[in-house]
Every structure is written in C-alpha cells, then in structure tokens.
C-alpha cells in the first residue's frame, strides 16, 4: 500500500518558519498538520495537509527528556481538531539541518506513545508523524491504533518546483531550502 503525504509549498515554508522560532522553555518547537484523506489506486493512501497548527507558547513545559515536552492542553487541542474535522493528525517537528533526516530513538519512542491517542477521537482515519529538515523530511503513518507504523513512501511539497522531501524509492537530489 502506497502512502503519500502532500502539502503546499506555502504551508511547508510557513511550518519551518514557525518551528524555527525560539521558545523560552523548549529547545525546539513542535506542531501538527491536520490532513484530509483520499484513497489511491491499488489501495494506496493519500494524506493532504489542509492546515498547520503550531503548539501555543503557553503549552510547552520544561523538557523532561530530549528537547521538548508539550503539556496536556497541546494534545487536547490536537485531539479536538481530529475529532471536529475527522482529520488525520500528523505531528511535526524540525531537525534543523540540511539534508536527509530520520526519526531519532526519542522520536520513535515519543511517537509510539502520542500518535495512537488520536485514534481515540478519530478511529477511522490514519494518523502520523513527520520530521522536517531544512530540505527533506521523513515520516511514518499509523493506519490502526496499535499497528506498527509504516514509513511514508513520499512526502511532497507542491509548488514550483515540486519538492520531493522524501521519496522512498529514489533519492532526492540536493534541495534548496524553504524560502
């Protein structure tokens, strides 16, 4: 099953700009994409980011482990969006470097705790997590609450040019940074 995440280039640029803003408590920021869904031929899945929701400044806590901890209000806000819109929620954070990126061990551990929660309010749609670098991306999709995640086959920022931030089947050339 092919899994593709698409967002407009405008949203990609806006997201990176937001994630790079400094915060008093957190060493890095996080946010959520709310996504609509569509089936692809051959049983594939397309997630289309329709909005980016930054975690509010007041919803960060002193980091317990790693660079960032978000409070229950941040998660409640994201749950509310999933419930109200039947949206797929994709958690997003930034690895602020150029080039390819992957989830760290902490990312994997935290994603495994966080993402299944969204199925409690929107059980019939998939949810996921993405790490953006300045030029690339990596992400995983949870199709069911407690199923192991699968890696997105493509993460694409739509604009001129079309930016394949991640393409599992071929390596992307060196990409220009978001601007």
């Amino acid at each position: 099953m092919t899994a593709v995440l698409k967002l407009t280039q405008r949203m990609w640029v806006r997201t990176i700009a937001d994630l790079r803003r400094p915060h008093d408590l957190a060493k890095e920021r996080v946010g959520f994409f709310s996504c609509r869904q569509a089936s692809l031929a051959g049983g594939g899945l397309l997630l289309l980011a329709e909005d980016y929701h930054p975690v509010a400044d007041a919803h960060y806590l002193p980091p317990l482990m790693g660079a960032v901890t978000i409070g229950p209000e941040a998660i409640r806000d994201a749950l509310q969006i999933a419930l109200t819109k039947t949206a797929s929620i994709v958690h997003v954070h930034l690895h602020d470097h150029s080039g390819a990126t992957r989830f760290s061990k902490i990312d994997n551990s935290e994603n495994a705790k966080l993402i299944p929660d969204f199925f409690n309010v929107a059980p019939d749609v998939p949810h996921g997590a993405v790490a953006l670098s300045q030029t690339h991306a990596f992400g995983q999709l949870w199709d069911r609450q407690y199923a192991p995640p699968r890696t997105f086959d493509q993460i694409v920022a739509i604009g001129a040019p079309i930016r394949f931030l991640w393409s599992g089947s071929w390596k992307t050339d060196s990409l220009a940074k978001a601007s």
Binding site: M1, M11, R36, G44, L45, L46, E50, G159, A160, P161
Partner: protein, 271 residues
C-alpha cells in the same frame, strides 16, 4: 550501450529514477494530448495516466500524433493509439490509458504528480482544475483556437497555464468565467467543428511538457512561480500574459486550501 537518456543528464542524477517512479496525468489524448504522450514516452516517463473516451475519425487525421490511416479507417480508440505509440517508444513503460472519461478514472488520476489538461471545453477545464486542486496536483492547461475577424482574416491563439495549488487559478487568470461557461453551454450542439491544426498543438504541448519537466527536475534555479503564456499563432510567439502582473502576491479566492481530499473517504477502501 550508451544510456538512452544520457542526453538529458542535465536534469539531474535522480531524474531517470524519478521518471520511472512518478505518474503524469494526461487528460485528452487528441490533438494536444497525443503530442504530450509522445514526448513523455521519449523523456522516459514510465507511468503516464491518460484518459479519453473518443475514437479517431477522419477529421482527427490532420493532427492526431501516432494515428495511422488504418486507425482512422477503423475508428480506433484514441487511448489505444496513445498506448501503442507510448509502448513503441518506451517498451518498458507501464502506461495506464483509459477509453473512459477522466471522471471515471479519477482514483487513478489522484496518483498523478502533475496533470496536463488537453481538453476542448471551458467546462471540462474548470472541472479538471477543481479535481487537481482537491488532490494538490499542479494542473497545466493547454488550449488553442482559431478566430475569424470581420475582415475575413484568421488568427490562431492559445495558452499554456499552470494552476498551482495555493496559487492563482484559471478563474483568477480570466480563462474560466461564468460568461464563457454559459456561452459554451448555449452553443452546445450549435457550433460547427472547431478549427484545430497540428503545429500550434505541438507548440503548446511541447511547452506544457517542458513546464512539467521543469517542475519535476528543474535544471536552473530561477523557476517561474506563476505561468500563464499566451500563444499568438500569427506571429508565432509565446509570451507571458499581461494578466500575470495583477496576480503577483494575490491569494486565490476561488479555492479553499481546506477543501482537499475525498469527502467520502472510507478507511476500509485502502485495504
């Protein structure tokens, strides 16, 4: 043996792999679409997705690339002609060319990285663009027309336009208007055959292919953010439309960024 794509190495190291993996939608496999198909076959695109319910007729023979005289005599399906042409140029390709209307293969079309619309009517353009916007697919539209003035002179005109999700749409650019849609509906069945000739189709189709390739595998850094090219077939020129000036920095009011995806999505359909 030399790599068959070695002359397009300037498109980047990963271009060949990219063109094996992505799909381009080609809606309309007639005068314009047949050129587009031929060129993508040469470029090495392995997974085109095309749709056209029409059959080749005598009046197509002046411009349907790939159509043999036998095809015309047999009223062969344009989709079949396109597939045969495609495979003859690129035997490893896996084209999906349907003889159904594009609306009936829209699940397949959703997988397109870009769609090139080679359709005849304003109404079709509008529907196709709306579909492309819903699934965040860049839409490249081509069209030509021949007008006769009161003096008896003819003028050939056309356009190549990119409707990019998040950017100005065909309505913003004045190509789709309610007036034109109404006029078209009013004339339905009353209009005679529209003049169509092969060389403007070739110019417009080639330009559209170049734009698509530039979107996928840019070969320079100064990519135009908005494309609306007006074709003057009498002076043989393609020029940026003056309308672009008024579109810089504007937000499209006709499409809502939030209206994406399939409103009838069922997760079970993915298994």
């Amino acid at each position: 043996m030399e790599n068959r794509f070695s002359r397009q190495g300037f498109l980047g190291e990963t271009a060949e792999a990219l063109y094996r993996a992505v799909s381009i939608g080609i809606v309309g496999l007639g005068g314009g679409g047949s050129h587009v198909c031929q060129q993508f076959a040469h470029i090495g695109l392995e997974r085109p997705i095309g749709a056209d319910p029409d059959k080749a007729t005598t009046t197509n023979s002046n411009r349907l690339v790939g159509a043999s005289w036998n095809d015309i005599q047999d009223n062969e399906l344009k989709a079949q002609i396109a597939e045969r042409l495609y495979r003859s140029v690129n035997p490893v390709a896996r084209p999906f060319f349907s003889s159904k209307a594009w609306q009936e293969v829209q699940v397949e079309l959703r997988g397109s990285t870009a769609i090139i619309g080679c359709v005849d009517s304003i109404g079709e353009r509008s529907q196709l663009e709306a579909f492309a916007r819903r699934f965040l697919i860049p839409y490249i539209d081509i069209g030509m027309d021949v007008h006769r003035s009161t003096s008896g002179d003819h003028s050939i005109s056309g356009q190549v336009v990119v409707s990019m999700p998040g950017g100005p749409c065909l309505r913003c650019m004045g190509i789709v208007t309610d007036t034109r849609i109404a006029e078209e509906a009013h004339q339905y069945g009353a209009a005679g055959p529209r003049p169509q000739v092969v060389w403007p189709n070739g110019v417009l189709a080639s330009t559209a292919v170049g734009i698509a390739v530039q979107l996928l595998t840019p070969w320079h850094s100064k990519q135009p953010k908005q494309v609306y090219l007006e074709y003057d077939g009498n002076t043989h020129t393609l020029s940026p439309s003056p309308r672009l000036e008024y579109l810089v920095g504007t937000t499209c009011p006709h499409f809502d960024d939030h209206e994406v995806g399939d409103p009838y999505f069922l997760r079970q359909a993915t298994h």
